[in-house]
């Protein structure tokens, strides 16, 4: 929303990681506008349900198109938009609950299709909007309102999941560094295929991981975050796999396969094989 809207009463908590992700997305879309000359309206932001999905209403300045649908279904909606209008730049924004739990079934098919969109997942390891239940990325043993005696389900490893399912671009980032994150989102948008940008975006109310991420020397906490080394070969699936299994949260592009055609490119290919017949000609084939 470009101007203040008194009717819209949703607010992120002070210090929420999603503020940084919003800024990063705004920067990435502005950069794209400057680079391509295409209007802001050429961007479509498909949002999930949860704290993070409200990002689509909270974007400031020049407004892209938005779609704020139902819980867990950002990817197939994005597929509909993209395959209907391939010239549009389609970005998904969703949280770990929306994307990995209820929406988990949609990741594999879109990765296999190599749908040409960029999905930005804000991972805070908790269901914030419903007030603190455990999510797929909540650590095993964590006490939350829905796991009063500790979570008894192993935590998901989203980066490994994306790699296994065949995403052709995987980046990992942190909400506390919006400029760096904007670059990752920009690269994800530019990638011709299914781009995942997984962002640590801490929830200051229910699962504040800022200190764990950035570390605290006084308390003897080593930071989880580290830069992806310059010599990392993102085209090497094995190297990506190793990095995902190292301790800590990498920041940068972990994996990138530029050899696979996207769904729309494949569609153009197979269309070439299909005979085109008008409705009248089709009707002829049933005439006698």
């Amino acid at each position: 929303m470009s101007k203040k809207n008194p009717e819209y009463d949703f607010k992120w908590c002070p210090g929420c990681g999603d503020f940084g992700v919003r800024r990063a997305l705004e920067l990435a879309m502005i950069n794209r506008l400057e680079e391509t000359g295409k209007p802001m309206e050429n961007n479509v932001v498909v949002a999930g349900i949860g704290c993070s999905g409200n990002l689509v209403h909270l974007l400031e300045g020049n407004q892209p198109y938005g779609f704020h649908g139902i819980h867990g279904r950002t990817l197939p909606v994005a597929m509909g938009v993209k395959m209907a209008r391939p010239e549009l730049n389609v970005v998904v924004v969703a949280g770990d609950g929306d994307f990995l739990s209820i929406g988990g079934e949609h990741i594999g098919p879109q990765a296999a299709r190599n749908l040409n969109i960029c999905a930005v997942v804000m991972d805070n390891g908790v269901y914030g909007l419903t007030k603190g239940q455990s999510s797929p990325t909540t650590q095993l043993g964590t006490v939350t309102s829905s796991t009063p005696y500790g979570k008894i389900e192993a935590e998901a490893d989203p980066l490994e999941l994306y790699l296994t399912l065949g995403a052709s671009f995987i980046a990992s980032g942190f909400s506390g560094q919006p400029r760096e994150l904007a670059r990752l989102i920009g690269q994800g948008m530019d990638h011709e295929g299914f781009a995942m940008v997984h962002v640590q975006s801490p929830c200051t109310t229910y699962n504040d991981t800022f200190e764990l991420m950035k570390g605290n020397a006084r308390k003897g906490i080593d930071p989880l975050l580290y830069e992806v080394p310059e010599d990392h070969d993102a085209s090497d699936r094995g190297a990506a796999f190793e990095m995902i299994h190292r301790r800590g949260v990498p920041m940068g592009v972990i994996y990138k396969d530029e050899t696979r055609p996207s769904l729309e490119q494949r569609m153009v290919e197979v269309r070439g094989k299909a005979p085109r017949r008008s409705v009248d000609e089709l009707m002829d084939s049933f005439a006698f």
Binding site: G66, V77, G80, R85, H106, M283, F286, A287, F288
Partner: protein, 571 residues
């Protein structure tokens, strides 16, 4: 004996040629000017399993698959045992003597179907052996069938002549064997070729063609009986620069992908059956809420859950009209004939664009798989509608006002958020009571744009009316015609527009003493909806997984009309 029509039932094991025989007979007959209609029921397996298909061939246009079987073709013993009771008095049974032998049945004769086919050098000519036999039974000239063989197998191949000769030989062998058996059924009246152009279509093909004619651009679907053939049709035929047809990974993907496409400006559709429709519930509510044009075709099958995947029923009406939680009532079009499958699809796409929201097109298994000759739809009469699109420059909000408003499309000015949460004019989430009131009323007000006085009425001065919906139209109309001939004073109403009902029809219905609604479900779903709108409607229900028999409808309507009259006299 002169016959104006005859009914053949082919019964056997899946894969024995039960369906192809019926469809072949229908094609051969229509080619010389007869009318034909088939009814198919399938086992839920790829090969094998008991199955049967019925073909009705007539000099006159056909309304139902026929109550009584004139000839049963039994491919195996089980088929003979199961279906012989349905053969009318004076009817005949041809059984496959390569499969089993019978003694002491004076209305049956054995035909060595496989052996005769093999003797022509063409194992695939078994259907033709049967057709030759049937032709003899009803005195159909051999030339009719030879014309069909010529049309079907003359494809410019080197061995065309060979194939045609073997098929003609098969026809002759079937005919000669039958002549030797001494059985005859009668003389089928020679046909008159209709003067209008015709096509031979299945219901699902007609739906697909109608959607294409109305300008469909985007189709996704997930395989499910009996809707799969629409997906298959679209994958082959919805091609071109700005077109997209694709098999997705679930019905949840289907509905949400067409929501995305509809939002992006495309005419988008999917087709499914009950179980898939249930999965689309939340997405349909989103389409209503965010005001996105799209069409969902529900090809009904039987029962809740997995139910009866390959049988017919009309039990999804309540689900289609109220598919989602919250205050939602979707427009519903239900089609009753193969021809209506075409025009219903056109209407569904037009409605979706006109009122900017989801439209449900209801068909059913018996229609989807029915093969019928119909008047070739006149494409020049199809008028595709487009949505009202915002083409201004600034300052406009998508959900402005209390009724339909122009829709901005991504890529152009007018950026907004299509929102499934209650929202204000620009699409931002809100909880204000005044806004929820305004937006709820806005959404319902748009249904008025779909009020069309498009319905059939006959003898509408009668106090008691028959009003079927969907695929029960055929048997009900045949029953109605018989009732009128018998002097039973009932009238006829029918419409495809189940929601919103044509306003003039609703006004008439409210004046009637009794409205009888034949429908294939347990609860009497449509009569319930009519009663809620102030109509004294009562259902004739049936929940067997099979279509109505005309005879049953005649009896029940007569009885309901009589007891209604007695009540009126007492009152």
């Amino acid at each position: 004996m002169q016959m104006r029509d005859f009914v053949v039932r082919f019964a056997g094991e899946g894969g024995q040629g039960v369906v192809t025989s019926a469809e072949g007979l229908a094609q051969a007959s229509t080619q010389v000017g007869y009318h034909a209609l088939t009814y198919a029921t399938f086992p839920s397996q790829i090969l094998g399993g008991p199955t049967w298909t019925q073909a009705r061939i007539s000099v006159d246009p056909i309304l139902s698959a026929g109550d009584d079987v004139d000839v049963l073709v039994a491919f195996n013993r089980e088929a003979y045992d199961t279906h012989r009771e349905d053969v009318r008095d004076g009817g005949l049974i041809i059984y496959n003597s390569n499969d089993f032998e019978l003694e002491g049945d004076d209305r049956s004769y054995g035909l060595a179907i496989d052996e005769l086919a093999r003797s022509t050098g063409n194992n695939r000519a078994a259907n033709m052996v049967i057709m030759g036999a049937l032709a003899h039974l009803v005195s159909m000239p051999q030339t009719y069938l030879e014309e069909f063989v010529e049309a079907r197998f003359r494809r410019g191949r080197a061995n065309d002549d060979e194939i045609i000769d073997s098929n003609n030989l098969a026809l002759k062998l079937g005919r000669d064997e039958t002549a030797q058996s001494g059985f005859v059924l009668g003389d089928l009246t020679p046909p008159e070729m209709p003067e209008y152009p015709q096509v031979m279509l299945k219901g699902n093909e007609a739906v697909s063609l109608g959607a294409l004619a109305a300008g469909l651009e985007f189709y996704v679907g997930y395989p499910i009986s009996p809707a799969t053939t629409i997906l298959v049709f679209m994958e082959r035929n919805l091609v071109g620069e700005d077109k997209f047809a694709y098999q997705v990974s679930s019905e949840i993907e289907s509905i949400t992908a067409i929501l995305g496409a509809g939002y992006a400006g495309k005419k988008a559709m999917t087709a499914t059956a009950g179980p898939g429709f249930s999965l689309m519930s939340e997405g349909l509510g989103l389409g209503w809420m965010a005001e996105i044009p799209l069409v969902v075709v529900d090809v009904q099958r039987g029962g809740p859950a997995t139910g009866l995947p390959t049988k017919t029923e009309q039990s999804d009406l309540l689900a289609c009209m109220y598919p989602a939680h919250g205050d939602v009532r979707l427009p519903v079009i239900a089609v009753g004939t193969v021809e209506e499958c075409f025009f219903g699809a056109v209407k569904a796409l037009n409605w979706a664009e006109r009122y900017q929201g989801p439209v449900i097109l209801m068909t059913e298994m018996a229609l989807a798989e029915r093969v019928q000759n119909i008047h070739r739809p006149d494409l020049s009469k199809v008028q595709p509608e487009g949505r009202l699109v915002y083409d201004g420059n600034n300052g406009y909000n998508r959900y402005q006002g209390n009724e339909l408003s122009p829709m901005p499309l991504p890529g152009s000015p007018g950026a907004y958020v299509a929102n499934g949460s209650e929202h204000d004019e620009m699409g931002d989430t809100t909880h204000l009571p005044s806004r929820h009131i305004q937006m709820t009323e806005r959404r319902f007000s748009k249904l008025k744009l779909l009020e069309e006085n498009d319905y059939e009425a006959d003898n509408s001065d009668e106090p008691v009316m028959v009003m079927p919906w969907g695929g029960s139209k055929g048997p009900a109309l045949e029953a109605y015609n018989q009732l009128r001939e018998q002097g039973v004073p009932v009238g006829w109403y029918y419409t495809m527009n189940l929601n919103p009902l044509p306003p003039a029809l609703l006004a008439e219905l409210k004046q009637k003493e009794l409205v009888i609604v034949p429908e294939l479900n347990y609860q009497g779903q449509f009569s319930g909806i009519l009663r809620s709108q102030g109509v004294n409607a009562v259902s004739i229900t049936q929940y067997t997984g099979l279509p109505f028999k005309v005879r049953d409808l005649v009896a029940q309507i007569t009885e309901m009309n009589n007891s209604h009259r007695k009540e009126m006299v007492r009152a």
